[in-house]
Symmetry: C2
């Protein structure tokens, strides 16, 4: 199973903000859409980075109320790791657990085509393993 | 596999705050310990609820900088669902995906003995399924 299958089920829309948007604006986007992270895009639509709930909590701890006036560009995590639609679910899971991040941008020819979360990847992996277990059980039963 | 096995690996320590602690104090605890949620305990050590990164971001969206002066007690989610050490990994995963929450308190005789996250549960489930697949593969190979 690949990232393309996850996006087909989840959809291709990704909540994005601009680097100059304030944290005050970003928390409105996260809350209105019930999501945990947004991507930052440049004027041409290129991916700059990711800003998550965790980044915001860290900024509050370091800067208090001043964090709300900081910009998304100041607090974002640069997206060093990205996937393509052909990345397998297992590869995506390894990237996220090894890199300790929870959101993986999906790019096709440098264009954002989606964002998968660790929850998305894990659900897909479990479905895949359940199917494999079912297949092997059927084989074992059939050959017994 | 049960929740007890997860806690044995992860440890039994749970970061806790009191209901009167401010969000300003809670973000320091979350950041210092690199965690996503704390539990709220009463004076007798009884579980009152959970406060997560998401709850804090929602409060910022609703109240701006004023959220930092709010108390953990005001923003917590009452912990309606809890597990025991004997809860299976599959049961814990179903509770969390159906209830859409990411942290499950573990109680033994009304005393907190741990906190498992959706990440913990999912990693355990995957290990369990990989072991089952390996077992079935060995059986299929042995019987082929």
């Amino acid at each position: 199973m690949t990232v393309a299958a996850i996006l087909k089920h989840k959809g291709y829309e990704v909540a994005s903000v601009r680097p100059a948007d304030t944290v005050e604006a970003v928390v409105q986007v996260l809350t209105a859409r019930s999501i945990g992270a947004v991507v930052l895009l440049d004027a041409a639509g290129g991916l700059l980075g990711i800003l998550s709930e965790r980044d915001i909590v860290r900024a509050l701890a370091a800067n208090g109320a001043g964090a709300l006036e900081m910009t998304a560009g100041q607090l974002m995590t640069r997206a060093l790791k990205t996937a393509t639609p052909r990345t397998t679910v297992g590869e995506a899971m390894t990237m996220m657990t090894e890199g300790r991040f929870r959101h993986l941008p999906v790019l096709e020819n440098d264009t954002m085509v989606g964002l998968v979360s660790i929850g998305d990847v894990v659900r897909a992996k479990i479905l895949q393993q359940e199917a494999e277990v079912d297949g092997l059980r059927a084989y074992v039963t059939g050959s017994g």
